[in-house]
Each structure stands twice: as structure tokens, then as C-alpha cells.
Symmetry: C2
Subunit: 148 residues, 2 copies
DNA sequence: TATTGTTATACTCTATAACTATA
DNA sequence: TATAGTTATAGAGTATAACAATA
């Protein structure tokens, strides 16, 4: 069986929303404290890119700059992210995780991954390998453009 | 290369939010009129299950009953869905697509699938087949429970 | 009592438009 | 002028809690 681009598109369009819903529900269920999916993704980006600018974060997450500004606002208010003026270019901000942010992200990662892993454990290893490979493929197709 | 449940979970957690964002952005971009992803999914369910109840729709979409009530409210106000009392059990509602709802869904399907297909067309047929198979697998893992 | 659905309330996410500050 | 970011405004999505109507 082979898949045309259109058949493949149909599958993606049906299944991806299902998966994101399960992920979101689990993140919400977990309280210490709970993170939304976008908040989680922002923390992951800042962890991987300490000192990131807001524009970089917005691009990575795939949202507009104003949306990112509001999103980060919430994280700063919850003391998960530190937002400092950039030394040298005072238009920019410098985003880093606070100690609390690091801990929260670590816990949320463990929790959510463990939850997903538990579901995925029902698959055979061959099936999981195919899923992981497909995720790699989709990442290449749907990653935001790398401008900087 | 094989994938443990935890590695697979990590991949899913990273890639699925990326894909959903691209889908959402495309649906929003399209105006005639634009649908959100949940609205789209609700319409798909009602199309496939004419006369569906609100509870059924909520379960299929993976949201709570109050959320579904609000969501359908918006669709009724936009004249995309008809919400009638159920004959026989007056607690229930009967959801069907209006003519406008059918047209809008059809257009949105074509548009979004074509957009995704265009992206996926850069893959080889073997890659697309793997992606489609992986979607099937994930659907089994993450579908809401079928109670009724 | 149990089921189906709605309403009230509160947040978050997201966009576009308009703005400020800096380069 | 161009860039980085914020604020204003608006609408959708979502949850929990409380409620109403029907079975």
C-alpha cells in the first residue's frame, strides 16, 4: 500500500488534532504547576537557547510576536522565566529560565513523556520505530524556516 | 535503529505541536469563511454522523460537554449547523449540517488538504506511506474511548 | 436519581492594529 | 527608516461548577 500526498494529508489532518488534545489534557491534569502546550514549548526553546530573544522564541514556536509577548508575560509573572534587557541592544530582551522554570519544565517533561510513553508502550517496537521516523520526516516538512 | 517508548514519546511531543500550528495557521488564512481546527473537526463529525448528539460530538472531538456546547453555539450562530430538539428524548439535541455548513466544510477540507498535500509532495512515496501508516497507528493509540 | 445540555465564570491562546523605544 | 517589543482590542477554546429540564 502506498500513500498519495492527498491521502497522507487526510491522515495527518485527522490524527494530529487527536494527539494534541491528549497531550494538552495531560499537561493540564498535572499540577505542580500545570503548563499549557505553548508555555511548555516556550520553556523548551528558552532552555535550549538561553538568552534567546522574543522574536526567536516566537519564530520557533510558530506564533506572532505579540502573541509571544503575552505568552512570555505569563511565564514571567509565574516566575518561570527571567526577561532582562539585552546588554548592547536595548531594544531586545534576553530570556532565560529561572530556577523554578527549570524545575517546572523538567517535571512537566518527565510527566508528559512518561504519560505518552505509557500509551506508546502498547505498540510493538517496530511500530514505535516507524512512528518515530515519521515524526522526523514531519519535522523536516513542518519546521518553521530558519532565518537566523 | 529502534525507538523506545520514551524516545518515541519525545518525538511526538516535539513534532505534533509544530504540525498543528501549521494546520491552524492555514485554516485561519483561508477566508470563506475561516474555520478553527475544533470547528472543523466538529463539522467533520456532524457530517459523518448526521443527527449526532452534543455528547457524542464532544467525545469524538475530545472536549468537555460545556466546551462543545459553546463551540456548537458559534457554529449555529454562523448558520453552519442546525441544532434541533431530538424527537422522542427532549433532553437531547440533534445536530446536522446546514447547506452552508456542507459547502464551507467541503471548501475548507479541499483547501487544507491541498495545502498539506503540497508540503507532503516533497517527500518520496515511501516516506509518505510511512507517515500515513504512523498516523494510523497513532489514531489507534490516541482515539477517545468508544462508549456508545 | 441519572442523563443531557446550558449558563456562569475565569483563563489562556491568538491575531491585527497601533504604539514606543532603540538602532 | 527599520527593528524589537508592548499594549489595545477582539474572538475563540477550554475547564470547572452550578443549574435546568427531561427520563
Amino acid at each position: 500500500m502506498t500513500a498519495s500526498a492527498d491521502q497522507c494529508a487526510r491522515e495527518v489532518l485527522e490524527v494530529v488534532p487527536l494527539v494534541i488534545r491528549v497531550i494538552r489534557a495531560q499537561m493540564r491534569r498535572y499540577r505542580s504547576p500545570a503548563l499549557s502546550v505553548p508555555q511548555f514549548r516556550a520553556l523548551v526553546h528558552i532552555e535550549a537557547n538561553p538568552g534567546a530573544s522574543l522574536s526567536q522564541a516566537a519564530e520557533h514556536i510558530g506564533i506572532t510576536l505579540p502573541s509571544a509577548s503575552v505568552l512570555v508575560d505569563g511565564l514571567v509573572q509565574r516566575n518561570l522565566v527571567s526577561r532582562e534587557p539585552h546588554s548592547g541592544d536595548r531594544r531586545r530582551v534576553t530570556l532565560t529560565l529561572t530556577q523554578r522554570g527549570k524545575q517546572t519544565l523538567q517535571q512537566s517533561k518527565e510527566n508528559t513523556q512518561a504519560f505518552l510513553a505509557e500509551r506508546l508502550a502498547t505498540l510493538t517496537e517496530a511500530e514505535r520505530t516507524k512512528v518515530a521516523q515519521a515524526m522526523h520526516t514531519l519535522r523536516d516538512v513542518f519546521s518553521p524556516p530558519q532565518n537566523s
